[in-house]
């Protein structure tokens, strides 16, 4: 059994420190003369007392207990875990990008604004939209922003009865959640036997109360909504707007544009398609693009090029207002811009074509060993069902855990919700054929194990630093922080 990893608080020893303040140049005034006693902390915050090497050893040790794209294959469906280029990290750390304050006089940040305008134009081109805002912090934030724009548009037209947002049953969980937070009710649209939006169900549910349809295309099954032009017509004829969830846009760069499909609002996840690293959960960036009729409602400010240079436009009377302090996750936007410039038009198109080829190749290699809910060519990702293995007593969860023993991050599991024992695989274009083959070999071996020696799968993982963890205990008796035994007084 491997040793238990210590917490930084357990490494702490009274009197150690890992940093020094700069040499003081201003007079050292007593705290008591700066602040009334009633405002001063009575109990010191129990942060650790550790040396710099303690810090290094601790976080290095933690990093070795974590799997990232740099560690190995990470085919997590709908998350686009592609390679995060190193040069982008360097570019975001250039002092002229990393160390500028958002409220500096405008003439001292022209390079930053120039980059933003160029990125906005490039994202507008990629998505086929008329204007882009870089402000939303992440995909879900972009969804919410887009829905607030649609709400403002309808209200401006007196269509206050448009209170419903249609969401397919295969949609990401953020779609219905964002709709509710934006003040809408959600209506679920069924998928048909093809795994696509059921047009009859859509027609039955769309109407005068429809504010929008939210759609991911390709959808979360990895299938292109082939009826998209018809869907667009149905929704628009009813007076609704079409919202594009860009989580799956790694399939469409240079192949098909949401704007041409009929979408009115688009968000992109720059941390997925455009290589902003996922950061263990974030930060991301979720720019939103709109068609012309929604431009007046975009959040303030808008970055623009004027004759006098680049400016921030706050004079927007119909705007929904500010949705985030300052101008979005600039640092992530720098990384995405750096990636787009590196790839160029030709490279981006190849990204999507090769992502699609990789997914179809894996699907072809794996589909006979699993149940396949939709046996058709996929786009950048595909779904398998572990029904056959479940009948042998091996659940999809077990297969995922067994993959850990092979050094892989498992695919997304149990999503989308409309596929039983779902396994959702997204290889991305940055993985080589050898990697895809080795992963497929591992999957096929696990399938064989499920038939011949199910216990080894059911009890997996066997090689990780911890075994399966008791999630029920964690939820029933929540321990959400380290409890220090003896609080110290301030002195």
């Amino acid at each position: 059994m491997q040793h238990e990893q210590t917490l930084i608080f357990e490494v702490s020893r009274a009197g150690r420190t890992g940093y020094n303040l700069p040499t003081p140049t201003v007079p050292e005034v007593d705290l008591e003369s700066l602040l009334p006693a009633s405002m001063i902390r009575t109990q010191v915050a129990e942060l650790p007392e550790v040396s710099e090497l303690d810090v290094v050893r601790h976080y290095t040790s933690l990093s070795t207990r974590n799997h990232g794209v740099d560690s190995g294959f990470y085919p997590l469906g709908s998350c686009t875990m592609k390679y995060n280029p190193k040069v982008n990290e360097d570019m975001a750390r250039l002092p002229g990008f990393a160390h500028i304050h958002p409220l500096q006089p405008i003439e001292s940040v022209q390079g930053a604004l120039e980059m933003m305008v160029d990125l906005q134009e490039k994202l507008a081109e990629i998505t086929g939209m008329d204007e882009v805002t870089l402000q939303p912090a992440a995909g879900a934030h972009g969804e919410w922003t887009g829905l607030m724009l649609i709400k403002a548009f309808h209200h401006h037209n007196g269509d206050v009865q448009r209170t419903k947002v249609l969401v397919p049953d295969s949609a990401h969980g953020t779609n219905p959640a964002s709709a509710v937070v934006a003040g809408f009710e959600t209506v679920t649209v069924k998928s048909d036997e093809r795994g696509l939006v059921d047009l009859d169900d859509l027609k039955a549910k769309v109407g005068e109360d429809t504010a929008a349809l939210m759609l991911t295309n390709p959808n979360t099954l990895g299938l292109f909504e082939a009826d998209i032009l018809e869907i667009s017509k149905v929704v628009h004829e009813a007076g609704g707007k079409l919202y594009y969830d860009g989580a799956n846009s790694n399939a469409i760069l240079g192949i098909a544009r949401p704007g041409d499909m009929g979408f009115d609002v688009v968000h992109l996840n720059l941390h997925k398609t455009f290589t902003g690293p996922h950061g263990g959960g974030g930060p991301g960036s979720g720019p939103v693009g709109v068609k012309r009729d929604l431009i007046p409602y975009l959040p303030t400010p808008i970055v623009r090029k004027a004759d006098s240079g680049y400016t921030l436009d706050y004079d927007r009377p119909q705007s929904i207002g500010r949705i985030k302090p300052f101008y979005g996750n600039f640092g992530i936007n720098v990384r995405a811009y750096s990636y787009i410039k590196t790839m160029g038009a030709e490279g981006l198109t190849r990204v999507s074509r090769e992502a699609v080829l990789n997914a179809n190749y894996m699907f072809a290699r794996l589909k006979d060993a699993f149940d396949v809910p939709y046996d058709t060519y996929c786009k950048h990702e595909f779904v398998l069902s572990g029904k056959r293995q479940k009948a042998l007593g091996v659940r999809t969860l077990d297969i995922a855990k067994r993959l850990l023993d092979f050094g892989y991050h498992p695919p997304t599991i149990y999503f989308p919700l409309n596929v039983e024992e779902c396994i959702m695989v997204e290889p991305t274009e940055t993985e080589s054929k050898e990697t895809l083959d080795a992963f497929c070999d591992a999957m096929l071996q696990i399938v064989k194990e499920a038939e011949e020696n199910p216990e080894i799968v059911q009890t997996a993982p066997h090689t990780t630093v911890v075994k399966r963890l008791d999630e029920t205990l964690a939820a029933r008796k929540p321990v959400l922080k380290y409890e220090h035994r003896q609080p110290s007084s301030i002195n």
Partner: protein, 447 residues
């Protein structure tokens, strides 16, 4: 361009042929046939331009970056929610351990113990500083975190009236107003009296009172008094707090806050033109199951060994969809990690000493400006920011400073036209006596 020139794309021509053969099609186009032809024809990316080799890219990006004045080459007196603080070298080195930054949300805990434990430690540090019981593993930024807090307060109290102190960051007021348009909350902003939130408030039917600590103008609010006003009216006290200031200020938890949020950017996270920063969100235990965002909890594995998992996920969008407490999905985990590393390096007393150094530096600057004849507005206990009235348009003062290579404070006319002669000045531990004296000399030379 030759296909081998795309260094992120490993597919060779031979690979492509082999893979197509396995699939049983002739070309990638065969896999795209379900996409209407009209869409494929119009999907040109001509405006994107040609691919750039790395050297060309670095040249282009460096040229853009060099058009900006930055705080490593010019002293900055800007704060107002984004601060120029020291960032220990060790922080960036640890942050570049790519097992952290190239991972995603730790859905598979057995291979994500590093990230999960780091977030558990972050949650602990935030609870320690704020005096709250439970903290999540981060939000987008302090201000959207504050807006989410108004949602939580309204859901918890089942009241739609949100009362926001006038001394809260103007951008926070704006974001709270925009967010309110979702569930239809009514937002009211209170008057500022002598630089502080008035305690003469009518909080009838209010879900919460929202205050900032220290407030936007740099002053330390009397949280205990505000907590009493809020609680007497059945409202929650929501506090937005600079966590570095909590190295020395009494914690919001100890003074009666029900929800404390803020931004961990002061802990070594680069200003990066305003983002990404790192929101935090902490509550009293009674509100634990209503928290937005990811929470990490301690548990044991099958051998009884300590481990960490995402927990209480029944609050979240990927489980509850339209019944979730928030739509938030990704957070700012990497920046929470950065803040944790900085907090660890500074440690228990370092953070306090750094907070005190900020106060001493700002105090020196304030006294020096007063000695030079400038009026400090609403003077009183402060952290590292204060307001000076220059008697002339503060934008002109700012531009004059810029001409002399100094990034001045924030002209308050940016947000409030009636304050156009005032400047919000911030002096952190990074500002030296020489820089401060230089600021005053340059301002003194204005005509």
């Amino acid at each position: 361009m030759n296909r081998m020139e795309f260094r992120y794309l490993p597919m060779t021509e031979q690979d492509e042929r082999d893979m197509l053969q396995t699939i049983g099609v002739d070309s990638i186009d065969d896999l795209l046939e379900d996409i209407p032809a009209s869409l494929r024809e119009s999907a040109s990316l001509s405006a994107i331009g040609a691919p750039l080799p790395e050297v060309d890219l670095v040249r282009h990006m460096t040229k853009l970056a060099e058009k900006n004045m930055h705080t490593k080459s010019h002293p900055s007196f800007l704060g107002a929610g984004m601060y120029d603080h020291l960032s220990p070298s060790v922080m960036n080195h640890m942050l570049l351990r790519s097992e952290f930054y190239t991972a995603y949300t730790p859905y598979q805990p057995e291979i994500s113990q590093g990230e999960l434990q780091a977030m558990f430690e972050f949650q602990t540090m935030i609870c320690e500083l704020t005096g709250m019981d439970v903290a999540n593993s981060s939000m987008y930024d302090g201000i959207t975190s504050l807006a989410e807090a108004t949602y939580l307060a309204s859901a918890h109290t089942k009241k739609k009236r949100v009362v926001v102190s006038g001394a809260v960051h103007p951008e926070a007021k704006d974001v709270i107003r925009t967010y309110a348009g979702g569930p239809g909350l009514d937002v009211e902003v209170t008057e500022v009296v002598d630089g502080l939130t008035s305690t003469e408030l009518d909080l009838t039917d209010a879900s919460c009172l929202v205050v900032q600590y220290p407030n936007f103008y740099g002053r330390v609010e009397d949280l205990a008094a505000l907590a009493k006003v809020a609680h007497d009216a059945g409202a929650l006290l929501v506090v937005s707090s600079n966590p570095l200031a909590l190295g020395v200020l009494e914690s919001p938890g100890a003074l009666g806050a029900d929800i404390t949020v803020g931004d961990a950017q002061p802990f070594g996270i680069p200003q990066s033109f305003g983002g990404p920063s790192c929101g935090y969100f902490a509550v009293k235990k009674a509100l634990m199951r209503k928290l937005p965002g990811r929470l990490v909890g301690q548990t044991v594995d099958e051998d009884g060994k300590r481990g960490f998992v995402l927990t209480l996920q029944a609050r979240e969008q990927h489980i509850r969809r339209d019944k979730a407490t928030s739509n938030i999905c990704s957070n700012q985990a990497l920046n929470a990690l950065a803040a944790s590393i900085t907090m660890s390096a500074l440690g228990k007393y370092g953070i306090r000493d750094m907070a005190i150094r900020n106060m001493q530096t700002a105090h020196y600057m304030k006294e020096s400006l007063k000695a030079a004849g400038y009026a400090v507005i609403d003077e009183g206990p402060m952290f590292n920011e204060f307001v000076v009235d220059f008697g002339v348009d503060a934008d002109d003062v700012s531009r004059h400073l810029l001409d002399h290579g100094i990034i001045g404070g924030l002209p308050l006319g940016t947000y409030e036209s009636e304050r156009r002669t005032q400047m919000l000045i911030c002096a952190t531990e990074l500002r030296t006596k020489e820089e401060i004296d230089g600021f005053i000399e340059v301002v003194g030379g204005m005509n």
